[in-house]
Symmetry: C2
Subunit: 330 residues, 2 copies
């Protein structure tokens, strides 16, 4: 590629009418578990928007069920776990994920996509802290206080939880790469709730082992979170190739924090996509202009909002391709 590559987190999903039409007939978990449907939804934004990568359509809780966790995705709420994990006993009861047995439909979707699409497919997995937060809270949470309370009160059980989730996520991402994914993104959506001190004590080692464990596969490894301004240096230290940055930290400043060893992904505010184009355009140019020399993948700072006009995303792709760095890192 001879310019800055661009894709959008949640580029597949609720902002696209073709996705909503499909959702009229199928639940989210049904789509995730049906290879043809997952592949179709993954492809929709590639067809419509001209993005430079597809990302596997899935939900971060998908690998939890074969680990022994009963769950549902409740409309208007999100993932809900029947029996939250709040004890050493519950942690010990989690089974290690064997992807070929536990999530064969995911690997089938990846294989199907990898053999048909002409852009790289990004594999998808939740990071240990964010997965643990769903397990401990039992569902979405405003402040993740139960998760932190468990982490502080039972550090030994917490460490086992991080290790077990980390090993399973590593197996999950390795299996996706072996099935044809050309890159992987580890989603740590809620890790920005932690201070740097807590991240380093309670989370960093398990994330580091995931990136280490992917190194031999030689695919780009992206680590993403929200509200992580104070964690960017710590996140770079876990060993990814790319760190995702939300809209709060300008990319040039983010580059100072992450240092010379990683590229950056981001970081237009998703809410800006709801603005008139004349407001969006200079801000998108500013993102391009602030990208550091270590490499840049243009993206939003978090997922596409459901109320986004897909036409705006298409215009952003054109803008980035026209005005991105001539020797982008893609």
């Amino acid at each position: 590629m001879d310019t800055t590559p661009v894709w959008f987190m949640r580029q597949a999903g609720r902002s696209l009418p073709e996705y909503r039409a499909l959702r009229d007939r199928h639940g989210i978990l049904d789509i995730c578990r049906t290879p043809e449907l997952a592949a179709e939804v993954t492809m929709q934004p590639v067809r419509r928007l001209g993005v430079d990568a597809a990302i596997l359509f899935s939900d971060i809780v998908v690998p939890l069920e074969p680990m022994g966790v009963e769950l549902a995705i409740v409309p208007g709420v999100g993932p809900v776990i029947d029996s939250p994990v709040r004890s050493r006993r519950a942690v010990d009861a989690l089974r290690p994920l064997v992807p070929e047995e536990g999530v064969p439909y995911v690997l089938e979707a990846v294989r199907g996509l990898a053999s048909t699409i002409d852009v790289p497919l990004i594999g998808f997995g939740g990071a240990p802290f964010t997965l643990a937060s769903y397990l401990v809270e039992g569902g979405p949470s405003k402040n993740h206080s139960r998760t932190k309370a468990f982490m502080y009160a039972e550090p030994a059980a917490w460490q086992v939880l991080m290790e077990r989730l980390g090993e399973s996520v590593l197996a999950y991402l390795r299996a996706q790469v072996k099935a044809g994914a050309a890159a992987v993104q580890l989603f740590d959506s809620w890790v920005g709730e932690l201070s740097s001190e807590d991240f380093r004590s309670y989370v960093l080692p398990s994330v580091g082992r995931i990136f280490d464990g992917l190194a031999d596969l030689d695919v780009p490894r992206i680590y993403f979170g929200v509200g992580t301004g104070e964690l960017l240096g710590d996140m770079a230290e876990t060993g990814p190739d790319v760190v995702g940055v939300d809209w709060r930290v300008p990319l040039d400043e983010a580059g100072v924090r992450t240092g010379p060893n990683v590229a950056l992904q981001g970081n237009l505010d998703p809410a800006l996509c709801l603005a008139p184009w004349e407001v969006i355009e200079p801000r998108a140019r500013e993102v391009l202009g602030r990208a550091p020399g270590t490499g840049h993948i243009f993206n939003l700072g978090h997922g596409v909002l459901p109320e986004t006009d897909p036409g705006v995303l298409g215009r952003l792709v054109e803008l980035v391709h026209r005005e991105g760095a001539v020797d982008g890192d893609g």
Copy 2:
């Protein structure tokens, strides 16, 4: 005072059994609008915890109703606005707050408290961005995208909204000080959703006018938000005496960002109060140890969580009084 002063955001409220007993019989807005009840709830944590300040028990939406906004506080949801403010016409329809006419019960509660308690009473008001977010969203929001969309799409109407809210909040806080409040805190709970660029363009001027407009009253002015690591310097620039810091930024680093003109308030993670005391104690000492030379008020980085054991808060007060700076700023 000869050591670091300490109080807790949301020290009154759901963590206290005496508050929950009162809530069995009264709604939140009833309490806010009944001077005796508001005063009683304000006093409860002073009696129980030995904190160095009371903060007026209220809700940030209380002054919106006399501005012409129909609202309710829905249990499990939060404030809900009947007709969200999403047009220039709706902005123009907001009436300026005249505190003596619109919220006489608040001023009566303040007068009653000021004449009876032996700790300073902190006045309470929501900042323009956070109030606007309730008005535009129509209720609590995960990402405040409608608010930002309105701000980007209708900058002129947004400016009028910020001015009108700012003038009303200024009048509200001035009236509380004249009724006996010894300090004021401006709550900008959601402003951390904005980048520095947006904060400076869309919010900073209105906040600056509030602090300017309070200057002649010669009481400490505190400006608080969450997730504001990238905004701390901008927040200091609006002219408060104290900037509140959440748990993500260590106080010594926060002091570098806010500069030499403001004291800091914070910043123990509220979730840490759910941990065993042996985990809490060194972290509280660390907060004290990192406080900058410009002055420090010990507090949590956000409000007390409902599930907090009040006994832990009492122990924190003792610790801070015993080990705080000998020449604290209080």
